[in-house]
Symmetry: C2
Subunit: 360 residues, 2 copies
């Protein structure tokens, strides 16, 4: 079994987490390591294993509770493991899958879990599985259904990459399938059939011509998106295919509900058979909440808009103030070239230690 000492410096701990491959659906090894590390080195915490999620919390009777949440999974490996280093000192950079999304945030939380013995807020740590896949498999959703008490608190901080700057709100995400049917025929007599793949030419044309909105909310700028993420079709090498499916992912700003986003997509793809296969709502920035404002001040006052969907939206739906705050440049997430400046990992750890108080 991979072994982790959560008391290790968050930078080295990030590299150790990156080197435990954990593509969505295959998080057992990393969850085992996180659980064992906490049980051995953080005896002051109540630790619970839930599927491939690991939960831990203090129960010090503090008047407020902060939830720190990070997903353990990554998108598929793309020739970017194990972790590698460049630079040194303040300019050191860690490269590899998950360095940005989001093992840097996980490492900071894991380190704080082991080393903050007397925080000024009670703290709940949630390390979970399957964030990078369809919403119904999301580990945080499973915890919400089965162990809802573990997610309650006065503020949630999701450690998704945010350049070590507080990010507020998040865009919604919706995945739809456009299904084109046709009629099979031998390709030598194609006029007898109706080619379903040819039928995707028009929806693809609309996608390439699409101009996404740029939306301002509470002074923050959200950029929407509409992208094909999968295409399939074909029967055999000499058959006119009778079915083709195009999957499209839409990212929408917090001024739209999922229902409004769906209506928009039905308008864009008018005339085509469209079905929604996955949706997660957007979250408003929510900067009015006192606890969020306190954290913003501790972080130096800078705030940006969150473009990617994160589980901030789940906490927002529970009525809790929730923000993103984690090391790493989110524009590098899901690229082969993912890398993080170690100074950002250290910065996030310092801000949270200052905000949460208490020493080891």
């Amino acid at each position: 079994m991979a072994s982790l000492d959560p008391r290790t410096d968050p930078v080295d701990l990030t590299a150790a987490l990156v080197d435990i491959e954990s593509v969505s659906g295959h998080e057992a090894v990393i969850a085992d390591a996180v659980e064992a590390g906490l049980r051995e080195h953080a005896p002051h915490l109540e630790v619970v294993r839930h599927g491939d999620a690991v939960l831990a919390r203090t129960s010090l009777g503090r008047p407020s509770r902060v939830v720190l949440a990070g997903h353990l999974d990554t998108v598929p490996v793309n020739r970017n493991l194990p972790a590698t280093w460049t630079g040194s000192g303040a300019d050191a950079v860690l490269h590899g899958l998950g360095t940005v999304d989001m093992k840097g945030g996980d490492a900071v939380f894991l380190h704080l879990a082991a080393t903050l013995r007397a925080p000024r807020h009670d703290v709940t740590f949630v390390f979970y599985d399957c964030e990078e896949v369809e919403a119904e498999r999301n580990g945080l959703g499973r915890i919400e259904r089965e162990l809802p008490g573990w997610l309650r608190g006065d503020l949630a901080i999701v450690g998704e990459p945010s350049n070590a700057v507080i990010e507020a709100g998040c865009q919604g995400t919706m995945r739809v399938e456009l299904r084109r049917t046709g009629a099979r025929a031998h390709t030598a007599r194609a006029w007898m059939g109706d080619n379903a793949i040819h039928g995707l030419a028009e929806p693809l044309r609309r996608l390439t011509a699409y101009e996404p909105r740029v939306v301002e909310i509470d002074g923050l700028t959200y950029r929407e998106g509409l992208q094909a993420v999968r295409v399939t079709g074909g029967v055999s090498g000499n058959v006119v295919p009778d079915e083709a499916v195009l999957s499209v992912n839409h990212r929408f700003a917090p001024d739209r509900t999922p229902e409004q986003a769906e209506a928009h997509l039905r308008e864009v793809f008018d005339g085509f058979d469209l079905s929604v296969v996955d949706c997660s709502p957007a979250a408003q920035p929510g900067l009015g909440a006192p606890a969020a404002a306190e954290l913003v001040r501790a972080a130096g006052g800078r705030v940006a808009a969150k473009l990617g969907w994160t589980d901030v939206a789940r906490f927002a739906a529970l009525g809790m103030p929730a923000v993103n705050f984690g090391p790493g440049d989110p524009t590098l997430a899901h690229t082969r070239e993912e890398h993080v400046r170690v100074a950002e990992i250290t910065r996030v750890a310092e801000v949270l230690r200052s905000f949460l108080g208490g020493t080891s």
Copy 2:
């Protein structure tokens, strides 16, 4: 094991062959049945099993030899097994996968193999595998490489469906892959990436706008075609995909060589990364050969152009006169509604019995 009596009437024998499922790559059961049927009921023939092909021949010292060839495989099942019947008498129709392409032809050849004990030509029967997939897996190609003597003769008759009319020549077939590469990114920040699936919009537009040629050769009319047969692309539901592949099948008339057909496709898809993955040349009609002309006369003189590619082209490449002649409407091949008028099965059997001479 499925059992066959090749002496059975060709119509009932067609139904029996249809009911032995034999999608390309899974012909072992039908080949076992054909081999066992010939070994038991056609002791006058030399029988050889070669992979999932079955070869049989007379060696009567006749001055000429006719090769009768039929493939045993079918395209994938499409809710069209087992065989069913409609109508009766001269109007009876047999429905199901392979009734047209080409178990009717196989049944006629198998019946003649068992019942023609003293043909006026020596006869070679070739029942083979994997005709409906890429050329490199074709069983006739394997026999040509490993047992070339078995394919030699003065005339080849390929029993592909031809409405019980002699069909001359055949179109060539070429499959190419258009590969579009891009750059991955998180779909929430799609402007950081380059969507490879979106990049297929333009080749699909060209496909839908393409006007295939209609070509006259020796008074026969060939209709070309250009059809997408497979499309794939996608990494995961929230990743801008960095690769998408479109497979396209081109059918070309006998006035073009494979090299000319490839040059044409490179012109059509100019600007895209194109590679040829499979090609089989066209065959000229070849009606000048005496043996072919004799068969044409036996069949009543009617001749049509063959649009689909058939293994006639392989025999043509060996320098042999070769034609298509089999029961069934080729426009129904590879459709779910495949069906054959039993009168055509009987007609083909009668013409070939008259041409080959000899009685049981």
